[in-house]
């Protein structure tokens, strides 16, 4: 039977500002990002400066919602935590259910092994390398549609006109949700993930929950061939999934697929626009695009993941106690100088093993789809536009919390 966890503290952290007694004073450091914060600097440069401090530190106020947590910046420690499900749990790492007084959980994201893999196995075939390879034509067609709309204009706002909607479009189609509701979903997504007001998060969460519950109910008798249909038909222990399980899975798919690809795509296009030599190289060597995507995923990881320690342990001599929270910011781990020498250098031949898609049993379900979308988006931009650059004088503002997201990316090119 699934249990929800502690409703008292929805923040995936100990109470904001609270430092447990066992945390050595010299390991306490501020984390530079918080909900609602923005910067005009390069966000990953800000993160990389944390390399000057201790390998493991304790932030009094950490993403996603400001609770205090250990922060890990060594790729090796991050992989260790991701694999160590005996000491680190994924339970209650997201606030959505609690914020709406629900007792469902995000599935499989908040489920620990061994139960985790029974749910994960329902979804793996939908997102496998084989399944995603079959989507190429669809993804290419979608990318071309977006670029066609602005290619003759000589300028675009890349986030608004391509990266924000493109992955969502593809994803809604896979889920079997109506494309006409794209704008509505984007609005809910903003409320879920980007606003700093608790009320907005609650309202958006409730709206998404109501919507998904209605979709699930409407399709029960005739599930269909899309992702939701697949989940409705799935069985665990010889029984169909119950309402909470269906909602938990659909909600995870919903938030997992929305802004993660769009933000990483925007971060990559920003890099290519700001580094014409790299852009020119890839234009001349299209077969290197997949490797370039991996290296840029390494250097520009955009998400942060939480875990809660459930059993006392030690990492690199630091005592982590049950009840402590751990934050793994991909953007920081990807700048680990020990794992990735000169981490600020983007080297397309580096072929790094990064943790921007996570690691271990919860490793990003959508990663094969994400990679394909980013690769095809870049190929399409190269195919349909000449060398593009950031519009002269434009200042790129990035939101910096658990997610790193450029708010807009004005590009120009010759026509």
């Amino acid at each position: 039977m699934l249990q929800t966890s502690d409703k008292k503290n929805p923040s995936a952290g100990r109470l904001e500002g609270s430092i447990p007694d066992h945390v050595p004073a010299e390991l306490v450091r501020e984390f530079p990002f918080s909900r609602g914060a923005t910067t005009t600097a390069l966000p990953h440069d800000i993160l990389q400066r944390l390399n000057e401090g201790p390998e493991i530190f304790y932030a009094p106020k950490a993403p996603p919602l400001g609770g205090s947590a250990w922060v890990f910046r060594r790729a090796e420690h991050c992989r260790q935590i991701y694999l160590d499900t005996e000491h680190f749990s994924s339970g209650a790492i997201w606030p959505f259910s609690k914020m709406t007084g629900g007792n469902w959980m995000l599935i499989p994201a908040e489920v620990d092994p061994p139960l985790h893999s029974r749910y994960r196995q329902i979804l793996n075939p939908l997102f496998s390398p084989k399944a995603i390879a079959a989507l190429d034509d669809k993804v290419v067609k979608c990318a071309r549609e977006y670029v066609s709309a602005f290619k003759d204009r000589g300028h675009c706002e890349f986030v608004k006109e391509f990266s924000f909607e493109f992955p969502i479009r593809i994803f809604l189609e896979l889920m079997g949700l109506p494309l006409e509701k794209t704008a509505q979903f984007l609005e809910w997504e903003r409320g879920l993930l980007y606003t700093s007001s608790v009320e907005e998060v609650q309202a958006s969460t409730q709206a998404v929950v109501d919507y998904l519950n209605a979709e699930i109910a409407a399709r029960r008798d005739a599930p269909g061939v899309d992702f939701i249909g697949h989940v409705l038909r799935a069985q665990i222990d010889g029984r169909k999934l119950d309402n909470n399980e269906l909602l938990g899975i659909c909600f995870t798919l919903f938030i997992g697929g929305l802004d993660t690809v769009s933000t990483h795509l925007a971060l990559m296009i920003r890099h290519l626009a700001e580094h014409p030599d790299h852009q020119a190289y890839l234009r001349a060597n299209r077969t290197k695009i997949p490797e370039a995507v991996e290296e840029m995923m390494r250097a520009y990881g955009g998400t942060s993941i939480s875990r809660q320690c459930i059993k006392d342990t030690t990492i690199a001599g630091v005592s982590i106690k049950a009840g402590d929270w751990a934050l793994i910011p991909a953007g920081l781990a990807g700048r680990d100088p020990i794992e990735y020498p000169e981490p600020q250098d983007i080297r397309f031949d580096r072929c790094p093993r990064h943790v921007s898609f996570g690691y271990g049993p919860h490793m990003c379900l959508g990663m094969h789809l994400a990679r394909r979308e980013m690769r095809i988006a870049i190929e399409t931009m190269f195919e349909m536009l000449p060398l593009f650059r950031i519009a002269p004088g434009a200042e790129i503002v990035s939101e910096i919390c658990g997610m790193i997201l450029p708010r807009s990316l004005p590009l120009v090119w010759d026509v």
Binding site: P125, S128, A131, G360, M363
Partner: protein, 107 residues
């Protein structure tokens, strides 16, 4: 220490030592063998450590179970009778001399 040979799609081959107990995938990773990704680190969720075991060895391996079987349906290159996920193959002394072929793609 047991030796395992990896044969690339283009025919190039490399033989490495892998300690008893380590997975073939981990051994490949530590020795920078190309063509095996194993992104999830051996958790059997990513299907990117696919190998074809040379037929002479296929029967000497522990049988495919549950999750590995499901994930073999998910590989980029269609699975064959001698397909395995190398993260689930743990080296023993009896496997000294194992030969695996790396498929053309993992994604």
């Amino acid at each position: 220490m047991p030796k395992v040979t990896f044969v690339q799609h283009d025919g190039a081959s490399r033989t490495i030592d892998i300690p008893v107990g380590m997975s073939v995938m981990q051994g490949a990773f530590r020795n920078t063998i190309n063509g095996i990704i194993g992104g999830c680190g051996g958790s059997c969720v990513c299907a990117t450590c696919h190998v074809f075991v040379e037929p002479a060895w296929a029967d000497r391996l522990p049988p495919v179970q549950g999750t590995e079987s499901d994930m073999l349906e998910c590989t980029a290159v269609e699975k064959r009778d001698n397909s395995r996920l190398s993260c689930q193959l743990h080296v023993t002394d009896a496997l000294d001399g194992l030969v695996v072929h790396i498929p053309e793609r993992q994604e």
